[in-house]
Symmetry: C2
């Protein structure tokens, strides 16, 4: 059944792995809008960011020009533990769909964190260690980022303080225990370890917490550590997209090696770390006019930043303590419905991807949750791997494109990002298995309300 | 830090994968003792086994002579979805131990079932499909085998009925939902769907069930299906060791390719499916006098079939409805303490491995649970992957051998089997993280009691 020359799974050799991260901003004629200091509305400098972020990471955050950033040897060594990730030809899914399309996916779930998040976690932990810090602080919602960071910190012997949204802490005890096994301390948020936590607890005694509150606690914890800790973040930031470029570089090297030319590249988009990483080198070619690709961001209909948001300056966190970023946003007060793709429940979007979307270099679609789980089930049964709900948004869109090919007879080549596995998302699968999955689409009125609350920036 | 010529992870090319299963019995001068019909005490024939097992699998079970069994193309295609599994050099674990030993592990956990069980599940599902059956029945305790079989059945469109020990069904809802996502029906055992289940429920209304009861229900369900279903089993049987030989063949091909010569080969042993598969081709060389290897089976101190059991005919199931097998056993009435390595809580051992152990071709050690989890934690923090408790028995023994090398200065090469991941075992990890892990070693008196209950067979 297989193309004779193309293996089911393509694993690159160690000597074919990328040794630099690729910074797509260097190839953008118009750069993403700068982060602004919320107090002065002036562009943030490295010095402004340094109390919160590791200094080298702050530099990477603001660096729009360096095209190739060499990956330090210690990080390359760690990458070898779980990379290369395979580029897989979805022969069995194609057969089930009876489509002439050729479907490939880059699978990032073969590591204990269960997702691509480890690619940036290890980089951020490395720079923290190199700066001589005692540790790092962060927040986690669904738990993938917290797990990845715990693994990275264990590797470098760094302390890792994770503020976990209280409702997740209670509902996902297994995620919590994975982090603890790697030596992280996990605190349910809001907690009494910070001013902001104590304030929220006093005002809302029974609250289950929110990502915004957890971010605020993690930042406060870092800022008040006498310089021993810094805060790290798993998505949205440009530094994260830089680190995640290893996904796209491996995928492109594998495609080039076997003469595969994707017509369409698809990724799920929450904060943008996966999509930004997957498309990076392909987008580079597109920006330089060397090749053309249709690039599709897939977001949940319940949290449609690209498809129904606005391109405006907004706070990256609901606590409004982080810099202002210009991005596609629903407004930092927008609370997505408790759908199950936790990693896609973010009000905004990476400033890099937002600029590319505004420049019409990428498209976006939104999909509903029940259709996403139908795609996930078909994928699991045909391709074997149980996908994460987040990743399944990309599967849905890839299947839809493949079915269009079936109608038109076109033999398009589709590449999508399978960011991770769903082993810790079985509560959501159980709802689907029981026919109890629900969809939610916010009304125009609801979105307008939060849009009006956006900060006024010229 | 790495040997220049040996990658961190060795992935074979597709054209280097085995195309036959290797039947180690063909190289054994003295064969394992035959399965006996419990009613007549005569050796079982294919006809005796056919009402319970698929006919081709019954043939494989009794075939002591065919050395190479060609793997059908459909199974080879499925294997390509998750095989080859990597042979990994544990550079970071070696560094943490400061040992001159070279440690390799064959990692079978990179598939959604989370273990090596899929290698035999797909084979058994294939022969069921080929025989025109409607489906298969089985039991599952910890859930890895049930998950693997569900995946295999989904692939071939077979019905899959899983009897899951009730206490696991209730305590491991996520495992259950993975199976349901792949389309299996999962019934808590004992249930009112079988005579034996109803009988046990009437006698013990509040029981949490047992593996023995679940086996009995699954066999009854198959036997009373008017020939539509057969019963399948994930370990112990010689057919299962045959299918699992892909593990060892891949490992040996990778070793040969890079000039790696293991001095010691280590695997955990419950029913023997993993150890038997890992060592198969190495044992073949040893049996033929072409090479020598120290081979170590690792079992839990709480269920020490090899190290404290007897080599005798016993029932393979606690319901005493399966054939009698000659094996190292603690007695089929022995109930292991509720330790957490569910896959190692079996009173007996593969007849093939039992014969090899009796012939002093393999050694065995038993290890205590707290020490096992200490090894698991060290492995997770250094090598990244969170290991299954079962696999961690092998890690413990590998670490112990590597530490002996540190004392003696010997540069031994150690190969162990990392059978799977621990994502669904976080309750056990939580106990360990909280310092609440307990050890249990059965007393001589306890073991003697069950030994006296063994069936009397000349």
């Amino acid at each position: 059944m297989a193309d004779k020359n193309i293996p089911y799974k393509i694993y690159l050799e160690e000597n074919e792995l990328p040794t630099s991260w690729y910074n797509v901003r260097a190839d953008m004629k118009e750069k993403p809008a700068p982060l602004l200091n919320p107090a002065t509305l002036k562009p943030m400098t490295v010095e402004d960011l340094a109390p919160v972020f590791c200094t080298e990471l702050a530099r990477q955050e603001l660096d729009n020009d360096t095209r190739e950033v060499p990956i330090p040897q210690e990080i390359l060594d760690f990458y070898k533990m779980y990379r290369p990730s395979p580029l897989v030809r979805a022969y069995f899914l194609e057969k089930a769909l009876d489509t002439p399309a050729k479907i490939y996916y880059k699978f990032e779930g073969n590591n204990t964190s269960g997702s691509h998040k480890l690619n940036s976690a290890i980089a951020q932990a490395y720079y923290a260690k190199k700066q001589g810090l005692k540790g790092v602080t962060t927040e986690t919602g669904a738990g993938q980022w917290g797990t990845a960071l715990s693994m990275a910190c264990a590797f470098f012997g760094l302390d890792c303080k994770v503020y976990m949204v209280k409702v997740s802490y209670e509902q996902k005890p297994f995620r919590r225990e994975v982090m603890r096994t790697y030596g992280a301390s996990v605190t349910p948020s809001p907690s009494d370890t910070t001013d902001i936590g104590r304030k929220i607890l006093a005002e809302h005694p029974g609250t289950g917490g929110s990502l915004g509150c957890a971010i605020s606690e993690a930042v406060e914890c870092a800022v008040k550590s006498n310089g021993d800790y810094r805060y790290v973040l798993g998505s949205v930031l440009s530094q994260v997209l830089l680190h995640q470029s290893v996904i796209g570089q491996e995928a492109k090297t594998a495609c080039d090696k076997y003469g595969i030319k994707p017509d369409i590249i698809i990724g799920c988009a929450g904060g943008g770390s996966n999509l930004g990483g997957l498309i990076a080198p392909f987008m580079g070619e597109k920006l330089r006019g060397e090749a053309d690709y249709r690039i599709i961001a897939v977001e949940p209909a319940s949290c449609p930043s690209f498809t129904r948001g606005v391109y405006a300056y907004d706070f990256a966190d609901t606590g409004m303590i982080c810099p202002l970023a210009k991005m596609y946003t629903l407004g930092c007060d927008f609370i997505p419905s408790p759908n199950h793709a936790g990693g896609l429940r973010y009000h905004g979007m990476s400033p890099i991807l937002s600029k590319l979307y505004d420049d019409k270099m990428i498209e976006a679609v939104s999909v509903e949750q029940t259709a996403v789980f139908e795609a996930a089930e078909l994928f699991a049964r045909t391709e074997g791997t149980l996908p994460a709900p987040e990743s399944s948004h990309a599967i849905r869109a890839a299947i839809d494109e493949a079915l269009k090919c079936k109608e038109t007879g076109e033999e398009k080549t589709i590449l999508f990002g399978l960011t991770g596995t769903g082993y810790f998302d079985m509560v959501a699968y159980e709802k689907f298995n029981n026919g109890e999955m629900s969809d939610y689409i916010p009304s125009d009125e609801e979105l307008a309300k939060y849009r009006e609350m956006l900060p006024k920036v010229d």
